[in-house]
């Protein structure tokens, strides 16, 4: 079995897919990081140029915010939950003051997290599709399927080895994005910021945002959380793409189908609040990281566990279909 997996991995490497993914990541991350730096520099320049008295004095603004926060915490009208979330804000602002960092300064840590939060819906699935789309359909188009299937190995084992190889490479793609995002943005910003405190732990309670269980984690821990969720998405997309690759003998059709589903699904998300069925579609649930940041549309019933459940179900069903079809498929090459 290990031998089969190794073989599949070698096939993927030989097709230079990782090189292509690497290039995509470098270009995309580079543009993204440069764009953010450019916008930030312009903002600072504008403040400093036209502010008649002093330059962009973030320290006094933050100082003012801290004073206000402390005053609010003393107010008798504040609820217990309110105090907790205020304390979090105070700690965050204190961190920035102590470390003499402007809170809106871009840092490599923040970029790495933000990049994956944005990439999760479409860019990461695209990378996975590059790896996975021709996993089976490629064997058909190059006629190597005959060679593969005439071995004394059960068909499901062959597919399983492909799937495991795919999972391994997808995991590495997620790792690679994280490393590239960190390195490239680090070069642009010069600030790492991995020990910045980040607030997470927002929950939806009775339709209202509950910030009482909010905790502070450091940026690198937060990034690991984000990339772990990204990894799960990668696994799910791998499973679904594998099924499509099994059912369709042309690689371009496989790619087309998956991309069309992803893009169409994004449009369907606009109907999320009106059409109940949409929340059961896997594309609507891809943005898992939104649950961590608390910035998501509050649809009743949708939570991290719900989305994970839906995605998991889609993956399992896809695998079942994929394996069944592959085992029974008539090969007429």
């Amino acid at each position: 079995m290990i031998g089969l997996i190794q073989n599949e991995v070698n096939k993927m490497l030989l097709k230079k897919k990782m090189v292509l993914i690497f290039v995509f990541l470098v270009v995309f991350i580079g543009l993204f990081a440069y764009g953010e730096k450019y916008t930030y520099d312009k903002t600072i320049a504008r403040y400093e140029k036209s502010n008649t008295t002093n330059g962009y004095d973030w320290k006094s603004l933050v100082g003012q915010q801290l004073k206000d926060l402390n005053r609010r915490m003393d107010s008798p009208y504040i609820s217990k939950e309110g105090i907790a979330s205020l304390q979090i804000e105070v700690e965050q602002l204190n961190y920035f003051m102590e470390h003499d960092i402007n809170p809106i300064t871009p840092s490599a840590g923040r970029f790495t997290g933000r990049f994956m939060e944005q990439a999760l819906g479409m860019f990461l699935p695209l990378m996975i599709v590059i790896l996975a789309a021709d996993l089976v359909s490629g064997e058909f188009s190059t006629r190597t399927i005959k060679v593969l299937l005439t071995r004394a190995v059960p068909r499901w084992r062959i597919l399983l080895s492909k799937y495991i190889a795919l999972l391994m490479m997808s995991t590495l793609v997620v790792l690679l994005s994280g490393i590239l995002a960190t390195v490239i943005s680090g070069m642009f910003y010069g600030v790492w910021g991995f020990d910045e405190p980040v607030a997470t732990g927002f929950r939806l309670v009775d339709g209202a945002l509950d910030a009482s269980q909010v905790i502070l984690v450091s940026r690198w821990q937060y990034c690991i959380l984000i990339y772990s969720l990204a990894w799960f998405v990668a696994v799910v997309i791998s499973s679904i793409t594998l099924m499509i690759s099994v059912m369709v003998t042309s690689t371009s059709s496989a790619i087309g189908i998956v991309m069309a589903t992803l893009i169409g699904g994004q449009f369907l998300r606009f109907l999320l609040s009106d059409w109940v069925l949409v929340k059961y579609f896997f594309v609507s649930n891809l943005n898992l990281t939104d649950y961590l940041t608390g910035s998501y549309q509050q649809i009743p019933g949708m939570s991290l566990t719900f989305s994970i459940g839906v995605l998991g179900a889609w993956a399992v069903v896809s695998l079942i279909i994929g394996f069944t079809v592959f085992s029974k498929k008539d090969v007429l090459v």
Binding site: R46, Q64, M168, I224, L225, S228, S295
Partner: protein, 269 residues
């Protein structure tokens, strides 16, 4: 030579990362759905304001002595006013000079307050005394909610703004309904948000501010005894004179302008 190390490297690396990601995955689930210690209190939205009394509101405009209640944030408190007067006292001055009216000012505004805290304050029975005896109520709120959006980038501004705005409008509606429920005869003046940063903050954010004010006005429109002071228009292009030294709160001149506008609106000029 490469071939010998590539496969083991890939194997080990992917296994290690899988392990890391699975633990991160489990942690994420824990964080977002841990047991809640505090039981959520269901928000009771009071009945609509359709039962607001339509008794003619002569008292405020006739010169009879009235009670003015100021609630909201630091602008309600009067931070930045070099003469330490603020909205309430300035209004009392104008009413005295204009129609010899005695205005008793009660100020329970809290510096830095956001809409959620104001809602709790208004719903708190401890403040019923102030609310029920008020003939005129000044509200200044929203600035601190909007201020939080300063740090958003182009990518995140849209969703952050929509989120904040939706919550703000919902809370504001509860505040107004509660106020009128507790005091059907009250007349309320709400001050719109101005832009203390000028053009430097970027047109994206300025547009959001304008939208915020428009949405606020639309909500206010549904209530009869409600007036709105368009502070944004008053302050535009005059930030040097209307802002205090902290470049954020109004100056004495700024407060003067705001109060004058409120006064004109209230007495119906």
């Amino acid at each position: 030579m490469y071939k010998k190390i590539i496969w083991p490297t890939i194997l080990v690396l992917s296994l290690a990362m899988t392990f890391l990601f699975v633990s991160g995955f489990v942690k994420s689930i824990q964080i977002t759905s841990g047991k809640s210690e505090t039981t959520p209190v269901p928000i009771q939205v009071s009945t609509t304001s359709s039962e607001v009394s339509s008794k003619p509101l002569d008292q405020v405009t006739s010169g009879e002595p009235i009670e003015l209640l100021v609630i909201g944030d630091s602008i309600g408190v009067g931070i930045g006013d070099e003469e330490s007067l603020g909205l309430g006292n300035r209004y009392a001055q104008l009413a005295k000079d204009g129609m010899d009216q005695t205005v008793t000012v009660n100020n329970i505004a809290v510096s830095g307050a956001v809409i959620n805290e104001l809602m709790n304050l208004v719903k708190n029975n401890a403040n019923d005394g102030f609310i029920q005896k008020a003939d005129l109520i000044f509200i200044s709120i929203g600035g601190n909610d909007m201020n939080k959006l300063l740090g958003e980038t182009n990518l995140t501004l849209s969703s952050a703004y929509e989120d904040t705005l939706t919550k703000y409008l919902a809370d504001l509606e509860v505040i107004l309904n509660t106020l009128f429920e507790k005091n059907p005869k009250a007349r309320v003046v709400m001050f719109g948000l101005y832009n203390p940063y000028g053009k430097e903050v970027g047109s994206d954010k300025i547009n959001r501010l304008l939208d915020w004010n428009v949405q606020t006005q639309q909500l206010l429109d549904g209530y009869e005894q409600l007036a709105y002071v368009p502070t944004y228009d008053a302050f535009k292009n005059k930030l040097e004179t209307y802002l205090s030294a902290d470049h954020f709160h109004p100056s004495a001149k700024g407060y003067e302008i705001m109060t004058q506008w409120a006064y004109d609106v209230v007495i119906g000029r």
